[in-house]
Symmetry: C2
Subunit: 231 residues, 2 copies
């Protein structure tokens, strides 16, 4: 058993891990070269997280330390493991800028493309919770929120302009090597990839090429991850 | 006369300089400690820029070199003056990410708050050009585009989330010291400040505090700049 445990959102299939914020944490752990147990956790297992003082994942238990929130986990790893490669070679502020852009612009766009696919990846109890909370958030039935996603592709792809121009300057947001800003954005794309066969990126987009590079990192951590996708 | 000339957009009053992209270039020149003549240029003076092979400012003439486009100017300065403090301590890609976010999200929001104020700052010939080209872009009369800006403030301030969280991590996007990412965003706010008394920022916003720090840089370059604002 690893000395580190990451509580990691899963679907009906415990091997399907789809939370964008948990993926950020796993990529940050991999960047630091740290082993961990990614313990499956479902939306409705609130009591399993009670020890953390809140109800959402990711939660990292690192020795005696409990850290919730993906950005707080990254800051913790940077501070606790200063000899491993930095997650923030460009400074914390710029990485936080990109992470919040992913939280808001990117995740808002992706959610409307895969929210019914997420629902389909959940067991009955989680599906009921997810439908109720997300339909209140989006103000409509999840199937209707997702419907017509092809017509929203142009606007979604236009919203990626900051990412696209940045990746015209270097192979990764971190420069020659990936860093936390890359992991923040990759987590969002992995969220969609884990539950949906729908790909919002055009193969001729520089963002598509970057995502392929991200998929290969850490022995294919993202590429090998089990998906809940109809064949 | 300086060996460097920057063609710099002005209003009816040649001392009122309001282009966000020209402000980026001036802040980048100041960061590198370089002197320059900021030569006033108006929208309709196309022939004065013919030498540059295109029709927009900023254009920097640096010795024998002519460079158009604010980001290209920053890259040129970084390459030509490597011994001066770097504009990109966090890497070029992340700075480009922020600059494109400012080009799109930030400038789109600000434009709808000050576009009629810009019009009022222009002489008759430029005003006719500006109205025609911008009304085609926005699909409406400029006065109507700007109307109701108070009601859009909440959505505009929400769109600043990436900037706001980043500035919760450090005094500047560049960290302890400002860098090109800061100048890219500051240029946009200066655009509004130069032509409008309307302030889209709340005084209790961390972004407001950052803007005040930006105003003080380089002996108050932004703070001292003449404005075209009704008293």
């Amino acid at each position: 058993m690893s000395e580190r445990v990451l509580y990691d959102l899963c679907g009906a299939d415990p091997d399907v891990r789809f939370s964008p914020y948990c993926w950020r944490a796993k990529l940050a752990l991999a960047h630091k070269g740290l082993s961990y147990e990614a313990r499956p956790w479902r939306f409705t297992e609130r009591e399993a997280l009670a020890f953390s003082g809140q109800g959402r994942v990711p939660v990292l238990v690192d020795g005696g330390r409990t850290v919730a929130d993906s950005f707080a986990i990254a800051l913790h790893l940077e501070e606790a493991y200063p000899d491993a490669p930095s997650l923030f070679p460009g400074g914390v502020a710029l990485a936080r800028f990109v992470a919040t852009w992913a939280d808001t612009v990117l995740n808002a766009g992706l959610a409307r493309m895969v929210v019914a696919d997420i629902l389909a990846a959940l067991g009955p109890e989680d599906a009921a919770y997810f439908r109720e909370t997300r339909e209140a958030r989006f103000g409509g039935r999840l199937e209707e929120i997702q419907a017509g996603r092809e017509e929203r592709l142009d606007a979604f792809r236009a919203s990626l302009a900051p990412l696209r121009t940045a990746l015209g300057e270097a192979p990764f947001l971190g420069g020659e090597r990936p860093a936390y800003a890359d992991y923040a954005v990759a987590g969002s794309f992995q969220w969609a990839h884990a539950v949906s066969a729908f790909d919002p990126l055009s193969p001729d987009d520089v963002v598509h090429g970057w995502r392929a590079r991200m998929h290969e990192l850490f022995d294919g951590l993202l590429d090998r991850a089990p998906r809940a996708v109809a064949a």
